[in-house]
Point group: C2
Chain length 337, copies 2
């Protein structure tokens, strides 16, 4: 990037991404002006070597950055309206990489109608400084308000959208700790690299789900967030976990079925919606899934007490040694995440 | 930080900082909910080794993080209402450092009545990964709207608050490239480490200043932002630059006065407000300064044309080889910034 200034880069690659944002002023001011409204706000950071692989294509990294934030918005029942972007580039960054990154943003901005409102872009000279990305996403809450984590009631059902464990297996496939058939590997890796935020489903669940969260830290960990915030316990039926064909094939090939269930229940990066709803709402939940064209599985129940238990078909509790992806205790490591 | 999880750290150190923020939900949810309003939003990143020195005390770094964002808000005439925080800690971080960082945030949150609304906290394992901090600050615009960069008119006066160049000299003193008397060094270093956002002045300038920006990239560079956005040129009188006693003493001791003026005009990190206003507003501007108890100096004029010129008392233009602190072309280096 010799010769290019921060302002050149912003003008050439980022200002076009702000063309549709009224209060962004083409990124030519110090601040943006958001129109008067309630706002749901979420902020997630992605770091090379922690949340994505350093050799990942930057257009996909850009889209993942938006999508992990969109996934939070989806779980809260919100409709995204815009975002702010923070980039810290390593000194070695090439202009074509910034161009690819901006192109990825453009693709998903178009898909999700999500203009860029502002941000900050900088370079770090230190050797080993990783690409670090941050997005602050704004959205409009549903008429019924934001779906909270703390609204689960005793007796509620626990549901999850889509399938679980794919992204974790995709990461294992990428880091070569495990072998998969080529078609399965391709599917699993896509699920790791490019999550699908469940925005339509999230909107349909507003006023219906009693609590919700997106599965980013792993099923057990995220269920624990709902349980703790609601002051209750959650039991999850391992046999009810929705699995893709690829994940089911992997599970069948494993010698220790309990250990494999435990792995699927603690992988991170699924970006599905985990939510609770009263039993009286089962038909309504099923309809929400149909409207959103998103599969929904009923996987457990909310109980008195505390903690989260993963229970096998035999009725025995399955030990899950780790309660999910904890950014403070480990990073991306082959075969460990 | 062995043993402590992201959630422990958030609960212990960051949740108390969100106690006064209604829609922050004690940092126990995925997102925050901001009440219905117009919002000015600004986002600035600070990186160890670029924007502060790796050995700087983390309570001061925390306060600088808030203050550089508050300075943007001040220049836009806004009143800050809350912020989101992003932290990427190096693996080597000690819990007492996180505690010191949170303590610094608490001090300035109290001073500026600025609750924490949410954010993301993570750790990077890679050797050499620098502490990286990001804040997204929200505020209310003045009744007359946000002060923009692009409103300067031909014939307007150019003003700056406080004094210029202190922070740059403070950085030189810290990096030992230059010697200063002890009292001067202490003053200059404080100006580098702990800027004073000019919030009261910014509020008083709303509806009065035709354009404004805070001086973060250096006077020449930030004046160029106003000039470019307004489609005009700016002439700055070097002799009119407001200097502290310490900076004036430094200037007097220099052999090449023009070169020294050029340095003062291109140092970054002053976090003063640079603004334009019609000549008819001179009394009103002076009163705004008095109300805000902030010195204001008239240092130049807005002209037809383009670019920014620094002019000596002789009438000659002073060459400024570099147009300020550019995060894409260099980092903190002894004697270079």
């Amino acid at each position: 990037m010799a010769g290019a200034s921060e302002f050149d880069v912003i003008g050439k690659y980022f200002a076009p991404l702000a063309a549709d944002a009224d209060g962004a002023f083409g990124l030519t001011d110090d601040a943006a002006l958001l129109p008067s409204a309630d706002y749901i706000v979420t902020k997630d950071i992605l770091i090379a070597g922690v949340h994505f692989l350093p050799r990942d294509r930057l257009d996909l990294v850009a889209r993942k950055l938006l999508r992990v934030n969109l996934s939070d918005m989806a779980a809260k029942g919100g409709r995204p309206t815009g975002y702010f972007l923070g980039c810290v580039w390593p000194m070695s960054v090439k202009e074509r990489q910034i161009a690819a990154f901006a192109e990825g943003l453009a693709v998903d901005q178009a898909q999700y109608r999500l203009p860029l409102y502002g941000g900050d872009t900088t370079v770090h000279k230190a050797k080993g400084a990783p690409l670090t990305l941050s997005a602050t996403l704004f959205g409009a809450p549903a008429r019924t308000g934001m779906i909270r984590r703390n609204g689960a009631h005793h007796g509620d059902d626990l549901y999850v959208s889509g399938t679980l464990g794919d992204a974790g297996l995709g990461l294992r496939a990428l880091t070569k700790a495990e072998k998969f058939p080529a078609a399965d590997k391709s599917y699993l890796v896509d699920r790791y690299r490019l999550p699908s935020p469940r925005l339509t489903l999230g909107g349909a669940l507003a006023g219906l789900a009693s609590a919700a969260i997106d599965v980013s830290d792993g099923l057990m960990n995220d269920a624990a967030h709902i349980a703790r915030a609601s002051g209750l316990a959650i039991d999850i039926n391992a046999g009810a976990l929705p699995l893709s064909t690829a994940a089911a094939a992997w599970l069948d090939a494993m010698s220790d079925r309990s250990e494999s269930f435990a792995a699927l229940a603690t992988f991170g990066d699924d970006y599905e919606i985990l939510f609770t709803a009263p039993q009286s709402m089962r038909r309504a939940v099923a309809m929400a899934g149909q409207v959103a064209k998103t599969p929904i599985a009923r996987i457990g129940t909310v109980q008195r007490g505390e903690g989260v238990r993963l229970i096998a078909d035999t009725g025995d509790e399955i030990e899950t040694a780790e309660t999910g992806f904890d950014h403070f205790s480990r990073a991306v490591q082959p075969g460990k995440t």
